[in-house]
């Protein structure tokens, strides 16, 4: 999959409050969404975003020291420490996990067997990497934003994003993404 060189620029700009849409997209500020540029199909654009998010996650995971615990590893892959701590408390409250270590175990096992992804085209695109029973949401530059079990009797990621007025595209995972996720997050 082709790299999206401006994606890192977009992330950097997002940190200071500006927004540069990823390559292949245009920003529609009034609607608060990004949309594929002329000549780019929504499906192709969604595939590029998914590849970028997963590529960023895999690259960051590969750069971590090998002696980290799973909990420390997950913390490093999260958007920030405060958000990680609050997230763990919420997952425990919901009964989704019993501890940060358990959350890491569940999330890594899910990423290692990821099958599909959905991309919500909001102002800051979010990719939901889905495995049977578990969703891991990534920022465009591949940081983990949240992770939780998929409950069949509750609205899905797509349902919820549509309530915000966002378009959601299913995106196939490339063989390379599937292999990279399995290699980096699978049992060693």
């Amino acid at each position: 999959m082709a790299r999206v060189p401006l994606a890192r620029g977009a992330a950097a700009n997002a940190a200071v409050g500006a927004l540069v849409p990823p390559v292949g997209f245009v920003l529609r500020p009034a609607a608060g969404v990004v949309a594929p540029a002329a000549g780019v199909t929504r499906s192709a654009a969604a595939d590029v975003l998914t590849g970028e998010a997963i590529g960023g996650l895999v690259q960051r995971a590969e750069q971590l020291p090998g002696d980290l615990t799973d909990e420390a590893r997950l913390r490093q892959l999260w958007t920030n420490d405060t958000s990680f701590d609050q997230h763990v408390k919420r997952r425990i409250a919901y009964g989704h996990a019993t501890s940060a270590a358990h959350l890491a175990e569940l999330t890594f096992a899910a990423l290692a067997r990821a099958q599909s992804a959905q991309v919500a085209l909001g102002e800051y695109p979010v990719t939901a990497v889905e495995s049977p029973g578990w969703a891991t949401l990534l920022t465009q530059d591949g940081r983990i934003k949240t992770a939780y079990p998929i409950e069949p009797d509750r609205p899905s990621f797509t349902d919820n994003q549509r309530r915000l007025g966002y378009t959601v595209n299913e995106s196939a995972l490339t063989e390379r993404s599937v292999q990279n996720l399995a290699r980096v997050f699978g049992p060693h």
Binding site: Q86, K89, A93, G95, Y148, F157
Partner: protein, 95 residues
């Protein structure tokens, strides 16, 4: 002795309470809080009287949280949708 499994209603209520207590404007999962509140509304009859009181207290905190929220980021949008669901619930109960 084995403890009985908590009911789906109790589990969902605990999640809703926890989501308010550990609210994070960057959390990315506020939709789950909205989904939990809507589920609780649809299954209110499964809550005990004590749980309904806990839900009412949690709703108060939710409304305060939503009232103080600024901006229109997705998390805040879901927070406000949850507040709307709470307000609609109160109106139904008052009718």
């Amino acid at each position: 002795m084995n403890q009985p499994s908590p009911s789906e209603a109790s589990r969902t209520l605990r999640g809703y309470l926890g989501h308010i207590e550990y609210w994070d404007p960057d959390g990315g999962d506020a939709a789950l809080m909205l989904n939990a509140r809507e589920w609780l509304e649809a299954h209110r009859s499964q809550l005990t009287a004590a749980e309904q009181a806990d839900l009412a207290q949690a709703d108060e905190r939710l409304l305060a949280l939503a009232g103080a929220a600024v901006g229109d980021a997705p998390e805040v949008a879901f927070l406000r949708m949850t507040a709307e669901a709470v307000s609609a619930s109160r109106q139904r109960l008052a009718a």
